[in-house]
């Protein structure tokens, strides 16, 4: 029983990370119908941006003070992710806005390889995994016999809070309305005076900030990062977005938690253990899609003219 509960905790921590990344996949797909395969790498560069800030920007004296260091790293990671995502959007995706769907999709794959290689070449020491600072936030909270790492708890709380804030923003703000309108019917949105470029840029920016924050918190939790974390978590996040119903905010996060739980539970209890935990994620995905092709919270139909 203790093992099960403990695994559930680990599942939720992974789920929080995956969910935060999945939000970017789902929002970008909702507005431009692009599976942005480079989005996993946006998560990765966020983590590296934060590490660079810790290593070279934050003064020695305050490195151990978590309430200074952590916010600075989170902000740095979010900014790096956002800037890179916006550059990619402008240079790689925007020129292909009216091209056949396959073109931006292939471009996204190329961008993701390019980003990963760029970090490998230019980030000092990134050819091997790098230690990520952890000294400033250590220890666990004991809940009966289970342990909840503080860093893990932070991920879960941040994932839930940011999702709720995002939902409120999209459902009630003027720009949120513009984003939904553009996603539902881009031409008619333009007839309302909405500048599609602005809503698209905002969508990429929000998705990238969430991924960047996830990257930093992931690093702080796992205590090391490598250029491969983007691919692995990106695949999980993409799966989460499809599982939850691509285009749906709440679906992406719930999908993230489902995947986190499936992976840890399967790794513990299913034949093959952690060697086969990936397999079970896709088994669940396929099982859901057989019965609900639109995903858990997807729209049954997309009315597009």
């Amino acid at each position: 029983m203790t093992t099960l509960l403990q695994q559930l905790v680990y599942g939720l921590i992974l789920g929080g990370t995956v969910g935060l990344i999945a939000l970017g996949y789902t929002m970008v797909y909702g507005i431009v119908q692009l599976i942005n395969f480079a989005h996993g790498e946006i998560f990765m560069v966020g983590a590296f941006g934060a590490l660079a800030t810790f290593t070279w920007v934050i003064p020695e004296g305050v490195k151990g003070t978590w309430y200074i260091t952590l916010p600075l790293m989170v902000i740095a990671g979010a900014v790096v992710s956002m800037v890179i995502a916006l550059i990619i959007e402008r240079l790689a995706y925007k020129p292909l806005r009216n091209a056949p769907r396959l073109a931006p999709l292939i471009t996204a794959l190329g961008v993701s390889v390019a980003l990963k290689e760029a970090v490998r070449i230019w980030y000092p020491g990134a050819t091997a995994p790098l230690p990520f600072p952890k000294e400033f936030l250590t220890g666990s909270i004991e809940l009966g016999s289970i342990l909840i790492p503080k860093t893990g708890l932070l991920i879960i709380v941040v994932a839930v809070v940011l999702t709720v804030l995002l939902q409120v923003y999209i459902n009630t703000s003027r720009m949120g309305r513009a984003m939904r309108a553009t996603a539902q019917d881009p031409d008619t949105a333009r007839l309302m005076g909405i500048n599609p470029d602005r809503t698209i840029v905002l969508t990429f920016a929000i998705g990238a900030v969430l991924a960047g924050v996830a990257g930093v918190l992931y690093g702080v939790h796992i205590n090391n990062i490598s250029i491969d974390i983007g691919f692995q978590n990106g695949i999980f996040a993409f799966t989460a977005a499809v599982l939850g119903g691509i285009g749906s905010i709440r679906g992406a996060v719930i999908g993230g938690f489902v995947i986190g739980l499936v992976k840890t539970i399967a790794g513990q209890y299913f034949p093959g253990g952690t060697q086969y935990d990936y397999v079970w994620i896709f088994v669940v995905l396929i099982a859901v899609l057989v019965f609900r092709p639109q995903g858990l919270f997807g729209e049954t139909e997309r009315v597009r003219a």
Partner: protein
């Protein structure tokens, strides 16, 4: 004084298919002007080009004397042209209220709430169900919302593409009365209608579009009396 809207020798193509060929017409400030013509004549294409969703292959569109045919759709709306598109095109997963708020997207004045109330007075069913999703309304109710939404930007020029489509005779009359009221309030109207009889009776001026070109023009009542119009569009002769 130059007309509020002037379309000069406009041609628009979808790929190799030329849908509008050398159309010219103008809309004077304060008028109601109708474009009538058979299915596929190019009326919708013309409106979509004026509002910036399509680019002309030739010709120009002048609004208050300034060329707008190279501007983006959102800039054209902001400069004072609203377009209530064919087939309503509501945001079906949003509420009535949200659709109206989107109509007022470019405004930041304090009159938005009052204008929304005006739409609700005009179409009480919308007011009663303002929190319902637009996609759940009947065709006629959706048409009311589409018109209300287009009014919300307070346009100088309001373009309506078949506003009476799918409406009962009573609702159609209500829509035409509304168009008259909007004109009285100072809005200029460019109307595309299948219902040529009602449209021309209401219009200060009408243009007949045939196979992508303007073939006849004149004051609405004169066109109504024209034998060729009666034969082609009013089912007579």
């Amino acid at each position: 004084m130059s007309p509020l809207l002037e379309v000069r020798n406009l041609s628009v193509a979808y790929g190799a298919i030329e849908a509008v060929r050398d159309i010219s017409f103008s809309v004077e400030e304060g008028q109601i002007v109708s474009l009538i013509g058979a299915n596929g004549a190019g009326k919708t294409t013309t409106l979509r080009t004026i509002s910036g969703l399509l680019r002309p292959t030739r010709g120009e569109v002048l609004f208050r004397g300034r060329p707008i045919h190279r501007q983006a759709a959102h800039e054209i709306l902001a400069s004072g042209i609203a377009h209530c598109p064919e087939g309503r095109r509501l945001f079906g997963r949003m509420t009535v209220e949200e659709n109206l708020q989107l109509g007022a997207y470019v405004r930041n004045d304090t009159g938005i709430e009052a204008d929304m109330q005006r739409v609700y007075e005009l179409f009480p069913v919308l007011g009663e169900r303002r929190q319902n999703k637009a996609g759940l309304f009947s065709g006629g109710e959706q048409q009311m919302l589409a018109i209300g939404r287009a009014m919300m930007s307070k346009p100088k020029l309001l373009m309506l593409d078949e506003p009476s489509m799918g409406l009962s005779p009573i609702m159609t009359q209500r829509i035409f009365d509304t168009i008259k009221e909007l004109q009285a309030d100072g809005t200029t109207i460019l109307l595309v209608e299948q219902n040529a009889l009602a449209a021309l009776a209401l219009s200060d001026r009408g243009y007949v579009i045939d196979l992508g070109s303007t073939t006849l023009e004149g004051p609405g009542l004169d066109l109504l009396a024209d034998q060729r119009v009666r034969a082609a569009y009013l089912g007579e002769g």
